[in-house]
Subunit: 427 residues, 2 copies
C-alpha cells in the first residue's frame, strides 16, 4: 500500500509590523515572534513583515522573512532599532476611512494572511484593535494581536513595557557616571550637570535617573517630572541645597516638563534674527537658569535617540521580556485569540518573578498610564521607595551584544520583497 | 651573633594628583600607579593624593591612599571620573609666582615627598614640567613625572592618549545605534540625526563617529571637524545627497566647529527677552539649519559628560594603556627619571602592538596635536582609511565593570586626610 499524506489545509500566513518610535529591544520581540512561528509551521505559514509598519500593508510592500537565515533572525535579539522599518501612521476609524480597510483586506487576501501582529505603543494598539474587528465588521477572518513596545512605559494593564527597562538602565547608569564626573570637577569648575531625557507625558524615564543613587552609592539627584508643574523657586532652592551639601548636583529633566501655565520648558521663547522662534531643549533652559540665579557653572546633555537605541547596555530583563512578548503573541494566535495583547504580570518584586498574561485591546488602546503619585517623593524632585521597588527589577542583568573590532555586530536583514499581486495604492 | 638589620634610609613618599577634565579611565592610571608603588615599598613610601589636583598640594590637603584597601584600589580600574577630585588650575611660572612654589616645597618637605606624579593633559604637563625644575631652581630634590590623560587625544609624541579610546568607542557605538534608529524612522518621520561631541580644537572625537560605518555596516555619516571651516552650502548638499541615497543621514558635529569668520556654530546669536545672548549647542544649530533649508525632520543629541564618563562601555585597549601609564610612571621614577612622561608607542597597527616609551616634558608641555590633514577625507566630511587604521585599535575590546542589581559597581574611596603640619595657605 502506497504511503499517503493526509491532505492538510495550507496554514495562513502572518503579517508582522513595527510601529512608532523604535527601541533597543523591539527587534527582540520580532525575533521571538518569528522564531516561534518557524517552530509552528503547521499552524502559521510565512511571516511577512510590513516595510515601515502598516504602510507596508497598505502599499503591499511586504518583506518575506522566510528568506532570512536562522542566524540573521537570532541576531535580531541583540540588534536595536526596527529591522523592517517603522512608521508614525494612525489608521482612522472604519467609518471615516473605509477605503484603507478594504485595501488591507485586499492585501491580506492576496497573500493568504490570517494573522496580524502589530508591535507598538498606545496608538498602534488602537490600529491593531481596529484590524481585530475586521472579521466582524467586514467579514474577513483575521486574528489581530498587539505586541507591546514603548520606551515611555505608558501602556495600561501590563506591569511594564518592553523597551522601557533598557532606556531606564541607560539613564540610571549615565546619570551615575556623569554624577561621578561632576563630583570630580566641582571644586574649581562644573557644579551642576543637567541631563534631558525622553517622556513627553509620563515621567517613567526621568524616574530612572533616581536609580543612579542607592544604598551603596550616595549621589545628589534632582528629578523634574512632567507630572509635576515646574516651580522654579523651589527647584533652585533644592539644587542649591544639594550643591551646599555635596559640592555638586545632577538634574534629570524630562523633555515634557511644563511651566505652571502649560508651556513646555523647552519652548525658550527665543527668536533668531529673522523672528523665527527657537525650539531648544529643556536641559539648556534649566542649566542657564541655574547659572543665572545661583551662579553655578553647568554642563548639560540631551540623550535623545542615544537612550532608546543603546542596545550595548540593554537590560537583560527587558530583552527577555521583549522576546517573550513576541513568542507569546504567536502562542495566543495559535490558540485562536483575537483582539488581545500579551502582558507582563509581576508575581513578586523580590525576588523578581513575572509571567505572561493577556489584556483585551479594547482596554489597552488609547489609554496612557501615568506615574502614580505614590512613586514621586513629597517634594516632587525624587522617587519613593515604592517606585524604586518597581523599577529595580526592570534594569536588572546585562545582555551584551557580540563585538567585532570593538564595535557591536548588529544585523541588517536582506528584507526581500514579496512579489506584488495588486495594483498600486495611494495613501 | 645577633641578627642585625642594615640601616636603610626611609624611602621618600609620592604625591599623585588628577588634573583637568576627567575621563572613564583616569582612575585606571591611578590604580596602576598606586599598585606599582605598593609593590615597591622599599623605594617609594606612601602615595599621597592631592585632593582636587595641585590645589591639594598647595593647601596641604593630602589624601593618604595607604588607608585604602587593595580591593578599593583595584576597583579604581573600573571606576570612571577622578577618585581624588580634579581641578582646573594652572601654576604660573616661577618668576611670576614664587610664593606658590615655595609653598609646594614646604608641603613636600613636611611630608617627605620626593616624587611628583601629575595625571593630566597639556596644561598639566606644563605644571608638571615646572615642578620638575624645582631641584635645579630652588634646591629641593624632587622627580616629577607626568601621566598622560586627555579625551581630546591632543598630547604630542605619544601615539594616543589614555581616555580618548573610550570616548571614541562610545561615540562610534552611539553613532551606529542612533543611525540604526533613524533608519527605522525615516519613511514617515525623522530623516536626520545630529550628535554633538567634544573636542573644541581637535577633531579626534568627531572622527570616531566615522567608525560607526565599516565594511560590514554601511551607514551615511557626515562629520563636521573643528579643523575644517564650516561651509554651509556644501554641508547641506552633502546631507541632502545622503538622504536622497539612504533615506536618512547622521551628522556628527564637534562642539568646536566654526563659521568661516571664526565664530563657533554654538554661538547662536539668539537673545532672550532680556537681551541676554543664548549659549546653545552646535547640534541644535545644525539641526535647525537642516530643517529650514532642506525640510527634513531632525532629532539631535548632545553627549557632553556622558561620553567621557561612559566607563560601562570603555575600550579595553584604553583601560590597559591607562593602567600601564600609571605603572610606568612609578617604574621611571624608581629608575631616577625626572621631567618626563611615559608614552604609548605604536609598533604595528595590524595586529595592533604597542609598548611604553617616554618623552621629555619640555617637548610635551603646551603643544597641541591636531588631526593630520591626511586623516580627513577630501570633501572634509569624513575620515580616510589612514585615520581608520589609526583609530580602530584604540576602541578594541570591552572591559565591563562589575554590576550589582543592574548598576555598575563604582568605588568611592574613603579619601582620609593626612594630618596637616603647616599653617593654612591662601590660593
Amino acid at each position: 500500500m502506497a504511503a499517503r499524506k493526509k491532505a492538510k489545509a495550507k496554514p495562513m500566513n502572518a503579517f508582522y509590523a513595527q510601529s512608532g518610535g523604535v527601541t533597543a529591544v523591539i527587534n527582540a520581540s520580532a525575533c521571538g515572534l518569528i522564531e516561534a512561528a518557524r517552530k509552528n509551521k503547521d499552524k502559521i505559514g510565512k511571516v511577512y513583515a510590513g516595510r515601515n509598519g502598516i504602510i507596508g500593508a497598505l502599499t503591499e510592500d511586504l518583506i518575506d522573512t522566510s528568506k532570512e537565515s536562522a542566524a540573521a533572525i537570532k541576531a535580531l535579539r541583540h540588534t536595536p532599532s526596527g529591522a523592517f522599518g517603522s512608521c508614525r501612521f494612525k489608521l482612522k476609524s472604519l467609518e471615516e476611512n473605509q477605503r484603507e480597510y478594504e485595501r488591507l483586506i485586499e492585501v491580506f487576501e492576496a497573500h493568504n494572511i490570517g494573522y496580524f501582529f502589530y508591535n507598538g505603543g498606545g496608538d498602534s494598539a488602537d490600529t491593531c484593535h481596529k484590524i481585530s474587528q475586521l472579521s466582524k465588521k467586514m467579514g474577513y477572518p483575521i486574528q489581530a494581536i498587539h505586541v507591546p513596545k514603548t520606551v515611555d512605559n505608558d501602556l495600561p494593564i501590563t506591569d511594564n513595557c518592553p523597551g522601557f527597562g533598557s532606556v531606564a538602565k541607560y539613564i540610571a547608569i549615565s546619570t551615575r557616571e556623569a554624577s561621578f564626573d561632576v563630583a570630580s570637577m566641582c571644586k574649581t569648575s562644573t557644579k551642576v550637570f543637567v541631563l534631558e531625557v525622553m517622556g513627553r507625558h509620563a515621567g517613567w524615564i526621568a524616574a530612572a535617573g533616581g536609580l543612579a543613587t542607592d544604598d551603596s552609592c550616595d549621589l545628589p539627584i534632582v528629578i523634574l517630572f512632567p507630572e509635576v508643574k515646574f516651580d522654579q523657586k523651589k527647584f533652585l532652592a533644592t539644587v542649591d541645597a544639594k550643591v551646599e551639601e555635596y559640592g555638586y548636583c545632577s538634574v534629570v529633566v524630562s523633555e515634557g516638563v511644563c511651566w505652571p501655565d502649560g508651556r513646555f520648558l523647552a519652548e525658550t521663547g527665543l527668536k533668531d534674527a529673522f523672528g523665527h522662534s527657537q525650539l531648544g531643549g529643556a536641559a539648556p533652559v534649566v542649566a542657564e537658569m541655574i547659572q543665572k540665579e545661583l551662579g553655578h557653572k553647568y554642563h548639560w546633555a540631551v540623550a535623545d535617540y542615544l537612550q532608546r537605541a543603546a542596545r550595548h547596555i540593554a537590560s537583560k530583563t527587558d530583552v527577555d521580556q521583549a522576546y517573550a512578548m513576541g513568542k507569546a503573541a504567536v502562542q495566543f494566535a495559535i490558540k485562536g485569540e483575537n483582539a488581545i495583547m500579551p502582558t507582563i504580570k509581576r508575581v513578586s518584586s523580590a525576588p523578581y518573578k513575572w509571567t505572561v498574561g493577556k489584556a483585551p485591546l479594547s482596554r489597552v488602546a488609547n489609554v496612557e498610564k501615568m506615574m502614580p503619585t505614590s512613586f514621586i517623593s513629597k517634594d516632587g524632585f525624587g522617587i519613593t521607595n515604592r517606585c524604586r521597588t518597581y523599577l529595580e527589577p526592570l534594569i536588572k542583568g546585562e545582555d551584551y551584544p557580540p563585538y567585532k573590532n570593538g564595535m557591536p555586530k548588529y544585523v541588517t536583514l536582506k528584507n526581500l520583497a514579496v512579489p506584488k499581486k495588486l495594483d498600486d495604492f495611494e495613501i
